[in-house]
Amino acid sequence: MSFRPFYFLKESLVSFKKNWVISMAGVTTVALSLLLVGSFMLFAFAMNSLIKSTEQKVEVVLFLDQGVPGESVEALQAELMSWEEIKNVLYVSKDQALERLKKDFKGSEIVDNITGNPLPASLEITLKDPQKANNVVDRLKDRPEIDDIMHDREIVEKLFAVTRVARWFIAIFVGLLAFASLLLIANAIRLAIYARRKEVTIMRLVGASSWFIRWPFLLEGILQGFIGALIAITLLYIAKVTLIDKIKNSILMFLPIGLSQQEFYQLVFGLIVAGVVIGAAGSVVALRRFLRV
């Protein structure tokens, strides 16, 4: 007796409808679990870009020796730009430095007391990976052109400690959520099949093979998972549009919060796959006990 897709599909659809209470329980469990995972993922994406933008603020400033000629500076700047770790190098001339100081200390008497321009020119380096700052500093510290390097190792390390912990927290919680969702869905499916265990036994006794029984349950599990995932995604989408995008466009304009369209589609795809796979696998595993007859 061969695999008959249409018969199994029909069976599963009919059964989905007839066991409405059970089907709905499965669907809502999948939907809620995936909604939790999904919304926390959105949250995690947002947090992550926030963390990243904070880390990006870490800069290395090179104060240049007073006597270094313009060409050397340009050469140094070009060389630095070619380094892998480095994203950008900004030249700040002596005049620009003085202007900044004046602006920073505007209204205070300190500015009035400065004679001439005691400030050095500098190169402000932005890093691709801020964690590599110490590296860059070590490689540069003996260069003759450079008078001094400003880079507060201690503060940077503190900052990274904090962001590392935040990342860990988020990763652990995403893992926990994923794991819990899996168990919750598996649980609901197990209960659903438990409620129908008598049917399974009867089918076996009437001569149905294991796969003949399994297929409709499997397809039903997939259906539950799929519908649940769709519901979760719809709710997430609504949340994204009404909440996150609004926040992004108003108060948080200046923050690179949130996720790209592509990331959102990846999330959606991931959720659907998760729903379908867990639904199918859950059904098959839960059935096993009752197919022993």
Partner: protein
């Protein structure tokens, strides 16, 4: 093997249910030939249903051997069991209908299982249901049927796919005498086409009037195996 001559061969079978304090069947040996019609009688709890469940391989005996059409049930691989059951039509004492399927679908299921084409199913199912007098209940669900109607669905399902063996456990327990006679006549007719039939029953009138082979159990022991027998000696 000399074994394959009999359709059903039960050899020194003992069945102890897990946790039970006494054996449900004790050292039973019975041979039933192809095409025989056999009544299985005995008081309540004597082991009739257990006997039938063993033949369906719903249970595996504690001791002894069982062969059906030459197949060794004890050492049968699990994936081969469905094949066995598709050749056996069973009327269960508690009907065992699928609650989420209509009368029609319940009977059709036995045909789906053997891979019958849809066309054949559409033709055969109403016909079989007509035989048991349920032609106007096709679309009802089991819990919308009377006890006797459910029993008749179970009967219809048992011979829908023309199995070579029919095991019927108390098939007329919920039926009135007229309907019972009809069902028995039907079983008799099916038997005459070569199907082996085993009927566990309490219906003394029926057993006494049909004069078929009678196997009697008492407390799990075979106490009588009689050609053209009657329900009981005494009472």
């Amino acid at each position: 093997m000399g074994v394959i001559n009999a359709m059903i061969k039960v050899k020194n079978v003992t069945m102890n249910y897990k946790g039970a304090h006494r054996s449900a069947l004790k050292d039973i040996s019975v041979d039933i030939d192809r095409g025989e019609f056999v009544f299985l009688v005995g008081p309540s709890g004597c082991g009739k249903s257990t006997f039938i469940r063993l033949l369906l391989r719903e249970l595996i005996p504690t001791k002894g051997d069982i062969f059906i059409a030459g197949h060794d049930l004890i050492n049968m691989r699990r994936w081969r069991v469905p094949q066995l059951r598709r050749n056996i039509g069973c009327v269960f004492q508690d009907f065992k209908l699928l609650p989420n399927k209509t009368v029609y679908e319940n009977v059709a299921f036995a045909l789906e299982v053997i891979g019958s084409p849809t066309k054949a199913i559409r033709a055969q199912v109403p016909e079989v249901l007509k035989l048991v007098g349920l032609e106007d209940k096709l679309q009802d669900y089991p819990d919308e049927l009377s006890g006797g109607e459910q029993q008749r669905v179970s009967i219809a399902r048992a011979f829908a796919n023309r199995p070579s063996i029919i095991l019927a456990d108390e098939p007329t327990g919920n039926l009135d005498p007229t309907t019972s006679s009809g069902i028995m006549a039907l079983l008799n007719k099916i038997n005459r086409t070569g199907t082996t039939v085993l009927v566990a029953t309490h219906d003394r009138e029926m057993v006494d009037s049909m004069r078929k082979r009678v196997i009697a159990l008492e407390e799990g022991t075979l106490i009588r195996d009689q050609q053209r027998g009657v329900y009981g000696y005494e009472e």
